[in-house]
Symmetry: C2
Subunit: 328 residues, 2 copies
Amino acid sequence: MRTTIKDIAAACHVSAGTVDRALNNRPGISEKTRKKVLDAAAEMNYQPDFTARSLVMGRTLTLGVVLFDLYNRSFAQLMNAIEKRARELGYFVYITLTDKNAQNERTCIDYLINRKVDGIILFSVNKGKEFETYLNKLHTPVVTIFNYISSDLEYIGIQERQAMKDAVDYVASKRYSRFIYVSPPLAYSGKSNIYTQEERFQGFLEGIQGHKAADPLVLKGADYLEKLMAYPFNKAEKTAVVCSTDLYALEVMNTLKGIGIAIPGEAGVMGFDDIDMLKYISPRLTTVKYPIVQIGEKAVESLVHKIEQGAFKSVPLLGHEIIKGESI
Amino acid sequence: MRTTIKDIAAACHVSAGTVDRALNNRPGISEKTRKKVLDAAAEMNYQPDFTARSLVMGRTLTLGVVLFDLYNRSFAQLMNAIEKRARELGYFVYITLTDKNAQNERTCIDYLINRKVDGIILFSVNKGKEFETYLNKLHTPVVTIFNYISSDLEYIGIQERQAMKDAVDYVASKRYSRFIYVSPPLAYSGKSNIYTQEERFQGFLEGIQGHKAADPLVLKGADYLEKLMAYPFNKAEKTAVVCSTDLYALEVMNTLKGIGIAIPGEAGVMGFDDIDMLKYISPRLTTVKYPIVQIGEKAVESLVHKIEQGAFKSVPLLGHEIIKGESI
């Protein structure tokens, strides 16, 4: 016969509510009690009955995630963190991918709403009034991450602009007199929500203003590597190539190595993201690190707080730090 | 009143079928028509009625993917490929993660079945008779990938054993007299479905037999790097470290570099996966490449064929090739 919460409660001499708290990792009980309940549940081979539970609670205990793709290595870390935290809080996660297409993103949200998820974590490529109206009509809570949409929507992220400004300050302290900025997604400015890229670019421009440097060369297109190859690097005037993500920085490093430009002797390279693969790559990329796992965890916690308590758990913008590598 | 496909068809002077093709991004219409329909749909605030559509078709037009995690870089490529091909065929994808936990995997499958997905792509950590019985009772088609379960279940993958045997043959051709094999997941042998890891290990053993080499040192635990550091490498007897995945090979390369062992002068390193990040890493890892994107695409195609035509589209095991880098 199937083990129920009542069976576990009887075996442990506690209330059904206490068992529920222990199984779903909610506060309000001691660690000792939690351990006793979990041990008993394992021993009695307890299998949670999600359908019954969601009927009782009037919820589906599922969250949806809408993300454009998984190419950026950070996103894999983000998804793992979201899934893990949601599971700890008793929620199941559906991840959906939009291939950076605004229409696909709407379809993903519609599907998740139709499947009655309790909440959505949204990394949007959409923006604008019409999209905001659509989101506000959903009656399902949404937490936005990375790409900000509006102050009416809960948002979890970092101080993108300040982070890039700090990166430029660090580069400038190493006596670079010329700057190149690499951010191919800026080609989609005005067409797509590229908030993080735009903020990082503004941070770069603000950073540059504070230092004596020639007007920077800004590479916004898919042809950034060709333009880089045509650039007159020279040792007398050291150039820093500041990139909006680590993946572009790695492409830049490969290209510079390919044409025999010494890093950082002739050209410095600055990244942004601190993806975990950097530890295998030489020279160690100097970059900006931010708490990607925490962003995922906080997004889940805020959303679940809204679902269960009626209000989001507001999260201040999270911190960042410069990782001093060997490329600047 | 809710906008219907008929309303859009009337407004654009096209058939309902054409509208359906445009909205669901299917072939068979011109780009001009597609744009006209999508613009009209947006203007008329069309919201697709998934419930109605799936009722008509007797399907939900959704597929579920069950995967353990996204740490291996190849899995991000696999997920992107699955999502893209499914979208092309008119299906929506839910990705679920199990954190390599057998019970979580059952929960994921249960959730997807409760949500009435039309089919499941399963990268399992479960195996055994009881699990097979459970899968066979689902009445929802399942395609297994990478980790084989049984001949009763559709499977898409590569010749793991032969691929590793070919890798060993290649290494042996470079005059290595000693071999180390690295595969920490083998510690879970018998406890978890680690089919691909076990097959690769068998391939390694078969490969070794064909060559004059000392008994290999096999590192199956999480302490593989410590054991590697204690190994007496020397130039007179070149040692090859054959790794079951690129990620372990990258850790091995970092560790060898750290203790001053020249690659491939004193020790060679062989990987398996050909993850896309290798292009940034020096020396270029010698590895085994297989068509990860094709595995994802074929899994979707076979599953959709089963859903729509009643039978899986059987896929022979896919090919592999040795990528000759600089580490062997």
